[in-house]
Amino acid sequence: MFGYSRSHQAQSLTVSLFERPSIQSISNHLSSNLNITNKLTQKTPYLYFFKHFRLILVILLFCLFTLSFHQPAYADTLVSPSFEIDMSTINITGGNKSSASYKLSDTVGQTIQGRFDSAGYIVKAGFQYIHSITPFTFTISNLDLNYGNLVPGTPSLLTNILTITTGSAFGYTVRAIEDHPLRLSNALTTIPDTSCDLASACTQTDATVWADNGRYGFGYNIQGSDVDVSDFVDNTYFRPFPIQDTDSPAVVMSKAGIATASAATVTYKVNVSGSQAAGVYQNNIQYIAIPSF
């Protein structure tokens, strides 16, 4: 539209940067220098390099600084029909917009002043930036953990699986707490919560190795999605449960973002000594799944 095609020859002539007279004069100049350089090279070969090394260095530095302080090319247009940049003025639009240089997400505003004045309330249910109708869902594969007959020095292990789907929430945490340590119905005799191996004691928020069958107690390990793998390094790392009315629930799974069927396997471990009183030991473990906001 703004030009016309030319023959290859014509184009070459048009865009050619070569100017014969200049080249000729430069060539002559270089030729005369070359003779001198050749003489120098014959006498001191390294001086020849250093002379050109400085020249190359100057050219490189010149190029780099020219690039650094160049005038910006305004190739990216800021204003276009598909972009709304001033977030405070977005009222009746929303969604994700992107290009090579832009990635914006805005939300539909519900800021109708008159409605608030007349009705006296504004309700926003759910998350405006996630367009999902899937509800926040939490499942546990097994609620009844029967450890059976406990053999002293032989740990009893049971597992269940926790699964989370955040749906329209952006992130979640699952916390765990027990009502009390495993105990007899007389509420006096307990299987204490584990402190893991003697070399490095574990706490309610810090898992360590529990592999010594001479260490007794009750604890848990968790492996899978959205688990803190820096704490539960592998399936030998255990923690004791926090105790209700005394401690705060401990985070066992969490994610800052959308989770779809994130699953983690909890392993419960009980190990008793030979002096543990006989009887039926029981407790209640509660998992609390709460979405982020």
């Binding site: 759910g126 930036y129 499942t139 097994n142 749906g167």
Partner: protein, 318 residues
Amino acid sequence: MKFIQPLTLIITALFLLITPYPVSAGSYGLSLNPPLLKVNIRPGKSITQVFTITNLSSDDKFLVARVIPFSETDSRGNPEIDLKKTAPWLSYFSLANSNINLGSPFSIKANASEQLVMSINIPPTAILRDIYATLLVSTYSNLTGLNYQGSLVSATIGSNILITIHPELNPPTLLKINELTPVSGTFFKFGNYYFADSITPISFISSVENSGNFISETKGLFKITGKNDTPVYLEGILPVYVVSNTQRILMNTDGKNFSFNPNLAKLGFHKATIQIKTDNANAESSIDIFFFPFKMSLGLFLALGLLGLIIRLPKPKP
């Protein structure tokens, strides 16, 4: 007659196999919707919100609904739940259901849903403030009926409720961007300036603090600007809520750190800016970055140095 005995045994075995006694461990599956309720309400007004709870397990469940207040969150918007915590304003909350009350067990059939009709009544004399709570729905468990040695697992699912009580729609609050710092990429800091390699992607972390009394949102932009404040890169901030007197990490709309991929054309002084503009607060913070092809320059200098070294080496005499 001689077949009667084996036939009886086979039939007995078949009946045992065909009609086994069902033994299955109890499971739990529950969903709650919506996961978040944000309300701006004037004193003396009431609202009603329906929460739908669905029993996804294959057996009927007894559940208990309750409202727990919270005032603190972590930097990712997770409330710090204390199950013992209470507050005088919990009386504002009630269920309008005829058969379900807060704190009392109710049953829900397998694979069925129930609606919890929550009524929030703000008295005319209520203090103008924010109140934050979580609706918790728990399985109702009782160790009394447990006849084995072990643990009975109970589960709780929650939904957060954020309420602003004020006659104005957007009562002002105070937002402050605490930090805007490069975290990954090739960069160093000298004085107040960051010097970054112009061909290495660079990512930034940022957080915002709400030191006011009312909740705010994190609507805004992360931008890189060149000369004359010309934007060369824009990224939206994930709009999340910052409750009063808490901090939140700012993220891009993908829930990740802000990132910028410079190139050889993006050289010289630039400015990285976080800009939040909401209905009740504004905040802005920026840092100066000088982009330069440090890696490339270093490579060139090393190559030239090596070349010089090679040339300087005396030629072996024949």
